[in-house]
């Protein structure tokens, strides 16, 4: 995006000077070398396709085949060169070409170098690939085409000298971009058929210069176990046309289709074979035939048979018996030597009664643990609840203790215990400080909480009786102590039933 505005135009020294104000977009990208600054070049890119290449002596495309006459399936190197002299080129695309009846591999990474032609030093960008023809005949390859961007001095159609200029200077300088489409000449290729003379019987179309190795693993197996046969073909040539030999299914082996693994300059076939009997002693020798275009002859590589050992299967010894019906009986595995766990007939676990009770235990346990956990949580979080429980417990214990003392018949001890129980119980029950609690204090507090008058009265009387027994000269008989305890129990039970506090 560029916005420009002419600010001023004036004449100076016979020349017209124009001052231009503009805004431009700049992309700054961090790279390994530092920062890359790319300025969007809004300059118009003029295509030169419809015009003859005015720089054809300075920039041109050349295509070369390694051979002009080949046999079918023979691999031929093909090179496409972009040659330039004194030009600034950018955005070079990969070349393309028409190749009817000819297979072409993909181009590798281009290589840059220099080449002198007729005394002129050219910069060369070289694209290499390989081709082969599947049928004989005369073919035309190409022309190859390549697109690129050429930088030319503005308005002058003079190519910019190839000296370094900054991107900003280039922008402000007199350069403009032109897209350029280059075309090479066609290349003729004559494909002749493979010779019939001395062609091996097992030849399957492989052309090149190959080597061949054969391996089997393992070489000692039990009957029924697999052996992997690995055939490795390496060298130079047309690997697509390579069909290596394989062991066919027959009497000796059960053979599976081979698995193929192809890399640069190597092709590996792995075939699984299963020997069919213990009498099989070897994997037969294998031949691999190919046509060597360099030597112009067929060649056959032979690999010797691979010895193998087939052992008996790993089962107990089987016996062969003909059946009463006369059918041939296959061997079965021998009997069991030990009886195992002899259990009562039909005695399965699902018939036992206990199995139907057992499902109840886990959920019961879970329920129990959950209840305990919930109760603990409530005791931690619900203070009122916790105090109520504590009060109940202390009240009960206090009543029991007082009862015991009553039976012993010690009034002072009895009223002491009862008083302490009363304090503790009411303190926990209503969240009041138990120490220093008296009848009056309790009455006032409990009245404000809306306690029943009857119960309030009983509590007050209990405090009075306790004080009288502890500090006064009153002597309480057993019947009176029992009445007091009963009154306390009534208070305890009625308060315990209350859920308001």
């Amino acid at each position: 995006m560029k916005k420009e505005r002419i600010l001023k135009e004036y004449r100076w020294g016979g020349k017209i000077v124009v001052i231009i104000f503009f805004v431009m977009m700049v992309w700054i990208t961090p790279t390994m070398e530092g920062l890359s600054i790319n300025i969007e070049n809004e300059l118009k890119v003029n295509p030169l396709q419809n015009e003859p290449n005015p720089f054809k002596d300075k920039i041109f495309l050349k295509m070369e085949a390694g051979k002009v006459q080949v046999v079918t399936n023979e691999i031929v190197p093909l090179t496409i060169k972009l040659l330039s002299h004194g030009m600034t080129i950018k955005d070079i695309q990969y070349p393309g070409l028409s190749h009817e009846n000819i297979s072409i591999a993909g181009f590798g990474n281009p290589v840059q170098k220099s080449e002198t032609i007729n005394g002129i030093l050219y910069e060369v960008m070289e694209f290499k690939t390989e081709i082969f023809a599947k049928k004989e005949g005369d073919f035309k390859l190409g022309p190859a085409r390549l697109e690129c961007i050429l930088l030319i001095e503005k308005g002058k159609m003079i190519p910019s000298p190839r000296d370094e200029k900054t991107a900003v200077e280039t922008y402000f300088g007199a350069l403009e971009s032109h897209s350029l489409s280059l075309e090479s000449d066609e290349v003729s290729l004559r494909v002749i058929p493979l010779p019939e003379k001395k062609r091996p019987v097992d030849f399957s179309g492989a052309v090149g210069n190959f080597n061949f190795t054969l391996k089997a693993h393992p070489q000692e197996v039990r009957l029924g176990e697999p052996i992997t046969l690995r055939m490795t073909i390496g060298g130079k040539g047309n690997f697509d046309a390579v069909i290596p030999p394989r062991i066919e299914k027959g009497m000796d082996f059960k053979a599976y289709d081979p698995q193929v693994n192809q890399r640069e300059g190597i092709k590996i076939y792995e075939q699984v074979l299963i020997p069919q009997s213990e009498a099989v002693r070897e994997i037969p020798g294998i031949r691999f035939s190919f046509y060597d275009p360099g030597k112009k002859e067929y060649r056959t590589l032979y690999r010797e048979p691979i010895p193998i050992k087939v052992l008996k299967p790993d089962v107990q010894e089987a016996r062969q018996v003909s059946s009463a019906s006369g059918l041939e009986i296959r061997d079965i595995i021998d009997i069991k030597a030990f009886p195992g766990r002899l259990k009562k007939k039909g005695d399965f676990l699902y018939k036992k009664r206990g199995i139907y009770l057992s499902p109840f235990f886990p959920p019961l346990l879970f329920g129990l643990i959950l209840c305990i956990h919930k109760r603990r949580e409530k005791l931690k979080t619900d203070l009122r609840y916790a105090l109520r429980l504590k009060a109940k417990k202390s009240g009960k214990n206090g009543i029991e203790e007082s009862d015991r003392i009553l039976k012993r018949g010690n009034p002072i001890e009895f009223y002491d215990s009862l008083f302490k129980t009363l304090q503790e119980y009411l303190g926990n029950r209503f969240n009041l400080p138990s120490k220093g609690m008296t009848g009056n204090v309790v009455s006032e507090v409990l009245k404000s909480k809306g306690l029943d008058e009857e119960v309030l009265k009983k509590i007050k009387n209990l405090f009075i009786e306790c004080d009288q027994a502890r500090y006064g000269r009153f002597r309480f008989e057993k019947t009176e102590m029992e009445k007091t305890l009963t009154a306390f129990k009534e208070v305890f039970h009625s308060l315990d039933r209350e859920r308001r506090w």
Partner: protein, 259 residues
Amino acid sequence: MVKKRARFLNKLAPFFFFLLFQTSYADPGMPRKPENIFYKGNQYYEDSRYDEAISQYLLLIEQGFESGPLYYNLGNCYFKKGNLGEAILHYERAMRIMPSDRDLKFNYETAKSFVKGDLIESPEPWYMRVSLLFFKEVSMDILISYLAIIYSFFFLILILRIFFQSISRLFFTALLVLTLTFMVGSLSLYEKIVSIGREAITTAEKAKVRLEPFESAAAHFTLYEGMKVRVLSFKGNWCKVAFSNKKTGWVETLSIELI
């Protein structure tokens, strides 16, 4: 002191002799240990005396014992005699107890390969196929144990969740996995239990399956020795069976035997 010891020993002597008598002398009239009957049967088998071997093994069964190896050996004996139906029947019984035994599977498949006629397996519902995929080779008792463990784990995880609130994602995933496994296992167990007393093997060489339970009824299809059928109901000397490809009909009870 020495005299006292001597008198004591004299009193004990008859007791010791009695014990010795019991352990060293095998009174043929006394019942033999089940294992010994089994070994005896094995001995007959080794000597290729299959009828005697069968009688020993059957004696154990009559005494109320059973085990996977016992049925397996019986199956072998019948197979050697050429009695395909009985062989497959006992292999099937052994499968209920030791379904993952490789030797048993091999012999069972070998025997099945001799069964005449087409053994067309009817396609089972998808949930049965899923349950069989996991639990086909697990016996009933072991499957019950697995289910009990899964069930207990389920509640154990619930209990752990009470104390470890932070493991929510793991908790739900574990519960889901356990629930699914339990469901699939229960389905498989149900199928195994239901099949008891409901499956039979054709022991006759050929048995015509008729449309109705009488001799003159039209024959629907033929069962060959060793074929497995599902028993649907009984009526007198006949029983209604379903064959693998969902054909049903009536066959004489004597021609088949329940697994």
